[in-house]
């Protein structure tokens, strides 16, 4: 059985993950491994996860996505989740998945702006 994997693209110092398939449990876990390895290996300063094509989530996928975002954040790569569909948002809220600390944006464009602002803020505070 070939394991499906979600590609991780690098744009400047930001990692871009676009989830275009319906996630299964092992795809989600593989993404978690791949992404944390890439952040450590390539010194990324931010991660953008696009889930606009994701139409179904269960509690496990929801929690895994939240975990991935939190892991990236503690590895000093702020994460923005973009393009969540209304149905997915309702499901996640009803399931009670803790996504409290995760930053979100409407689309990739706004997500990139948010990441730039976060990086700029961090550099400013680092210099001060």
């Amino acid at each position: 059985m070939t394991l499906e994997r979600i590609p991780i693209l690098r744009m400047a110092r930001v990692l871009l993950v676009s989830i275009q398939i319906e996630m299964s449990d092992h795809v989600a876990l593989a993404l978690q491994d791949d992404l944390t390895a890439r952040i450590a290996g390539q010194g990324a300063v931010g991660v953008l996860i696009d889930i606009s094509a994701l139409t179904m989530v269960d509690s496990f996928i929801g929690r895994t996505i939240a975990n991935i975002a939190k892991m990236a954040s503690i590895m000093d790569a702020p994460t923005v989740l973009v393009g969540m569909q209304p149905a997915v948002a309702i499901t996640v809220v009803e399931l009670g998945v803790p996504l409290a600390g995760v930053r979100t944006a409407l689309d990739v464009d706004r997500g990139m702006k948010l990441l730039e602002n976060l990086c700029a803020e961090r550099e400013a505070s680092g210099n001060a």
Partner: protein
């Protein structure tokens, strides 16, 4: 059954008079149905009843095929009366008030044959009772349909999502929020956020008479879902009583931006979008 049929046919006028008198005496409101209209309906029912008794086999129940035209007439009549605001009693009485004059006539025409009369009375009783029940059921159903239609109309009417500015949506909520309505509200709002690519949504609860824990819970969920999609939610129109209720209920709204008026919320939204309103002359 030819005895009843012949009574229906030969004494039609007499029966009709007695039946209409009976209906009048038992308080069918005058003016709601015109006299000649009522007469025409009654006459048609008598014809159809006679036809059905002719066509059907003796002892038929009212759900037999021969009674289909009669049932259709009663269904139509019941539906119109339902929409005209007749009570179920008044509607059913149209059928049941035929019993007394018809049975009286049957007794008169029986010529002392008690066994035959008993059979006729028995059958007529059964038939008219069943038709009465049928009429009342149609009446009930037509009223229920009206209620259902009004409910769905209310649901659609009450959830407009309006665009205040590029990137700012407003959702003025009016009336009591139950869980079904709130889920419709939630879905429309989130859908419009995606469609219009708005980053701020204002939920105005000025028109919501009461906020209980359930409503607050729904509000919190909507705000959380919108936030997950990357849009900020502001709740506006928190009236003094509602603020008091929310605090007394112990609902925690500290994670939500709340404003007293829609204007305040709009100002926050503009600030969020880094827009400034200036006076022209300044």
């Amino acid at each position: 059954m030819s005895r009843i049929t012949s009574i229906l046919r030969s004494h039609e006028e007499r029966l009709l008079q007695a039946w209409l008198r009976e209906q009048g005496a038992r308080g069918v409101r005058g003016g709601m149905v015109r006299d000649n209209e009522l007469r025409a309906q009654a006459q048609e029912m008598l014809h159809l009843l006679a036809d059905a008794l002719d066509k059907g086999t003796p002892g038929d129940r009212s759900d037999a095929a021969a009674y289909a035209p009669l049932r259709e007439l009663l269904a139509g009549l019941s539906r119109t009366r339902g929409s005209q605001g007749f009570s179920p009693t008044e509607t059913v009485r149209f059928v049941l008030s035929l019993k007394r004059p018809l049975l009286a006539l049957a007794a008169e025409e029986s010529g002392g044959d008690k066994a035959a009369l008993f059979d006729d009375v028995n059958h007529l009783n059964l038939l008219l009772d069943e038709l009465g029940i049928f009429t009342s059921e149609v009446h009930q159903k037509s009223r229920e349909e009206v209620i259902r239609r009004q409910q769905s109309e209310m649901l659609e009417l009450s959830t407009p999502v309006v665009k205040l500015w590029d990137g700012v949506l407003a959702l003025p909520l009016i009336g009591t929020l139950d869980s079904q309505r709130t889920s419709v509200v939630m879905e429309t709002l989130l859908q419009r956020i995606v469609e219009t690519n708005s980053s701020v949504a204002i939920i105005d609860i000025t028109g919501v008479p009461t906020v209980d824990t359930l409503v607050a819970q729904h509000l919190l969920k909507t705000v959380a879902a919108a936030r997950l999609m990357g849009a900020e939610c502001i709740v506006s129109g928190v009236r003094p009583q509602i603020a008091q209720t929310i605090v007394h209920l112990g609902v925690d709204l500290t994670n939500i931006v709340t404003k007293a008026t829609l204007a305040d919320a709009f100002a926050v939204a503009l600030r969020h979008l880094e827009l400034v309103v200036t006076k022209k002359s300044a």
